[in-house]
């Protein structure tokens, strides 16, 4: 333990309203603490800035998964274990379930939350690429201004930066029902040293559908660990949309994505490797879609 523990206060919020008041009164300095799977790792290594935290773990207002005809809504505290077990998520959002299955391992999946994964804002997080492709929206709430829904695409504005004010809490994530319609291909791959525990070198979530003539009618591609934020690859999508998946189109999409990503060298991988693998993953997805 490299941290000096008296430097860290952790308050228990007894309700959502109480949590919002604590955030508002903290002058923007109080941070939200949920399952601890990111913050406690930083604490142990001495990299968590000291200060005041408010625990929201267990608050019913932030828990549970609800389903309507239009949306599936996940409370911010929904764990990876709960995601994998939910029948509607398994049927309609297989990439989110696969991301949950590949995040850490059982003990982490019992504590890690979808809301925490979003506001931790790592470009290497496992679920955000799936959320982007599924057209997610997030709900932010504060004592001063109430609640607002924003599209998840655009929520991350730069490395570890996001459209969230210091007094705002992420309350929920919602996904439009049956993304891509029936017959859509959902393709999720995590490339790393191993499936469990390891943070990815590159990952992809992609969804596509071809019409009766074989022309690409829907194409959404998102990559993780290849840019300062989780990337929606719209230029690459444009190469594929409204075209038949010929070898030429697939080659053009591979080239486009290698141009669209902006990876870096770091402890897990290299810029060059990530660029090549991004191209390979897109080509693999399109080959599957072409079948």
């Amino acid at each position: 333990m490299r941290a000096w523990l008296p430097g860290y206060d952790l308050l228990r919020a007894k309700s959502l309203d109480a949590a919002l008041r604590i955030l508002a009164d903290g002058g923007g300095e109080t941070r939200v603490f949920a399952g601890g799977t990111d913050l406690m790792v930083l604490l142990e290594s001495g990299d968590l800035p000291p200060g005041r935290f408010v625990s929201v773990w267990g608050l019913p207002e932030l828990s549970g998964i609800s389903v309507t005809d239009a949306h599936v809504t996940l409370g911010a505290l929904t764990t990876y274990t709960e995601i994998q077990a939910h029948p509607v998520l398994r049927a309609e959002y297989p990439m989110l379930c696969e991301a949950a299955r590949l995040t850490g391992a059982t003990a982490i999946q019992n504590r890690g939350t979808i809301g925490g994964n979003i506001v931790n804002a790592s470009p290497a997080a496992d679920s955000p690429p799936a959320l982007l492709v599924y057209g997610a929206e997030v709900e932010l709430i504060s004592a001063a201004r109430g609640a607002r829904w924003v599209g998840y695409d655009g929520f991350h504005t730069g490395y570890k930066r996001m459209d969230r004010r210091p007094d705002e809490l992420l309350r929920a994530v919602r996904l439009p029902r049956t993304p891509g319609g029936s017959g859509a291909v959902h393709f999720y791959r995590k490339v790393g040293t191993r499936g469990a525990q390891a943070i990815s070198k590159v990952m992809i979530a992609a969804l596509g559908r071809r019409d009766a003539a074989g022309v690409v009618a829907d194409c959404r591609i998102s990559l993780g660990s290849v840019a300062p934020i989780v990337l929606r690859c719209r230029k690459t999508e444009a190469v594929c949309l409204d075209r038949p998946l010929t070898a030429e189109v697939i080659a053009a999409a591979r080239a486009a994505v290698m141009d669209e990503v902006t990876p870096i060298d770091d402890i897990r991988s290299t810029k060059a490797y990530r660029r090549v693998v991004s191209g390979n993953l897109v080509a693999q997805f399109l080959a599957l879609l072409a079948k």
Partner: protein, 168 residues
């Protein structure tokens, strides 16, 4: 920003079936409170960052790594450690299978392995080997090479099904 000065708080929870109250700093790790304050040293520290599973405990019946749980979040919870779980009737066959199969060498990973196996077999009494590998993927062992551990889990599953009279 002024540095906060956290004060010790009282935290009450159920530990292996009995009520306990501890005084600790709110961000103290459940792992340290168990080992240092409550003298339950069966829970081990390996990596201290949620990667190795040696510090696994059950929190409200779910497997968690206690190095990532601040003690404040244990308030009102049900905590079970290897000391409380090992003698439970459905866990005894798991323990025995680890001994019989040499699934334990230095022993540091063993409490976590037993708890992860318990969580698995309570949810899936008859797991496929791929399910065993996935359920134990968060528990690292540097001695056995895992094969003997997987054998122990298979043997334990068989013994537990036998003990349940084949009903499960």
């Amino acid at each position: 920003m002024p540095v906060a000065r956290a004060a010790k708080i009282e935290v009450s929870f159920t530990l292996n079936g009995a009520p306990v109250t501890v005084r600790a700093l709110p961000m103290a790790r459940l792992l340290d409170v168990l080992r240092e304050d409550l003298r339950l040293t069966g829970t081990k520290e390996g990596c201290g960052e949620g990667e190795c599973g040696a510090c696994s405990v059950f929190l409200n019946g779910r497997l968690v790594t206690s190095c990532l749980v601040p003690i404040m979040q244990a308030e009102g919870a049900r905590v079970e450690t290897i000391e409380g779980v090992a003698d439970q009737p459905d866990v005894v066959p798991i323990r025995e299978a680890f001994v019989a199969c040499n699934g334990s060498q230095c022993g540091i990973c063993t409490p976590g392995m037993i708890l992860a196996t318990t969580a698995l077999l309570r949810a899936r009494p008859n797991p496929a080997e791929t399910e065993v590998r996935e359920a134990l993927a968060g528990n690292l062992c540097r001695c056995t090479g895992y094969v003997k551990i997987f054998e122990a889990v298979a043997r334990a599953a068989e013994a537990r099904r036998g003990a349940a009279g084949g009903v499960r």
